[in-house]
């Protein structure tokens, strides 16, 4: 049993793309969370009384019990660095000129992923308290980027 032979002139590969373009709504929870972030510079969570868990960013459902959440809480703008990393590569895999400091900052029982700024790399540590630095109100558009970065308290 032999397989067919490839035409020696055959092109090795065929190039193409997967054209995917999307528009995402922020949804039931995102509407309120991001409008409050944009308009008031506040970070909101929602609390599940059954599971005693506070979701940040706010969600309309509890992922543990699938209960509906409507107990909205203000969790402040200062949180603790749970973990951080110095990212050395770009989105396309090419090296970054200067590593970016990315952290997970705890609020309630959740938190936010963001850049750390106004800090030297050797000052970053787990447990550090940091606060959100907002863009000027006029530049905010209702986005996670309305927060410029987090800086040490």
């Amino acid at each position: 049993m032999t397989l067919l032979k490839r035409d020696p002139k055959a092109p090795l590969s065929w190039q193409g793309e997967l054209p995917v373009t999307n528009r995402y709504t922020y949804g039931l929870a995102g509407e309120k969370f991001f409008r409050t972030l944009m308009d008031e510079g506040r970070i909101l969570g929602t609390h599940c009384p059954k599971c005693d868990h506070t979701y940040v960013p706010a969600a309309v459902f509890c992922e543990r019990c699938l209960g509906k959440l409507d107990d909205w809480v203000d969790v402040g703008t200062t949180g603790e660095v749970v973990t951080y990393t110095f990212l050395h590569v770009n989105l396309d895999g090419s090296p970054l000129e200067k590593p970016e400091i990315i952290a997970f900052v705890r609020f309630g029982d959740g938190g936010l992923i963001h850049h750390l700024g106004e800090i030297e790399p050797d000052q970053v540590e787990i447990g550090l308290m940091v606060e959100a630095v907002f863009k000027p109100k006029s530049e905010r558009i209702g986005s996670i980027l309305d927060i410029k970065h987090f800086k040490p308290v």
């Binding site: 049993m1 032999t2 397989l3 055959a10 190039q15 193409g16 793309e17 373009t21 922020y26 396309d92």
Partner: protein, 171 residues
């Protein structure tokens, strides 16, 4: 239960809600680029197209000649026996007159995609391509057609090395 339920969830938006900024949203675009290995079957198919030939392959067990060519017969799961050059003529198996492009632009003159059973392949074995040089209202299932090839120097080893299929004038 639907009889009992008064209210179902789900909030409907209009395009206006987006345009007027009533809701929050963002955009993104995937940068998804691929170079798919053509392999033995499709690689040879593309090379043949460049040479002006539609290539099939033959399974002696199932007594079938298929197109596009593959190296394995999906029916008996044995390797195909040989590549077979087919004719560049065929019969319209089915067609459409399409007034909408792939990205939903309306067009006045329809595109005419068709499945064309290729002469030399087994019955009901064809490829998808376009029809041209024909008035849309004259297209019929069963009509005989022939490939219109790009000039040799423009061919790239692609299904687009055939511009389209046009009717064969009855003698």
């Amino acid at each position: 239960m639907t009889a009992k339920i008064k209210e179902f969830p789900g909030i409907s938006l209009s395009e206006q809600d987006f345009a007027e900024g009533k809701i929050l949203y963002n955009f993104d675009k995937l940068n998804g680029i691929y170079a798919w290995d053509t392999g033995v079957g499709i690689g040879s198919y593309l090379a043949s197209l460049k040479a002006g030939v539609i290539l099939g392959s033959h399974c002696s067990t199932c007594r079938k000649i298929v197109v596009p060519p593959r190296t394995i017969c999906e029916w008996c799961y044995r390797p195909m026996d040989e590549f077979v050059p087919l004719k560049d003529t065929g019969t319209i198996n089915t067609f459409s007159l399409c007034y909408v492009t792939w990205d939903v632009q309306r067009i006045k003159e329809p595109e005419i995609p068709a499945v064309i059973n290729i002469d030399g392949a087994s019955p009901m074995h064809g490829i998808m391509h376009m029809l041209g040089e024909i008035d849309p209202k004259d297209v019929k299932i069963g009509m005989r057609v022939k490939a219109v090839w790009k000039p040799v120097e423009d061919r790239q080893g692609s299904i687009n090395d055939i511009f389209y299929f046009k009717p064969i004038k009855e003698k």
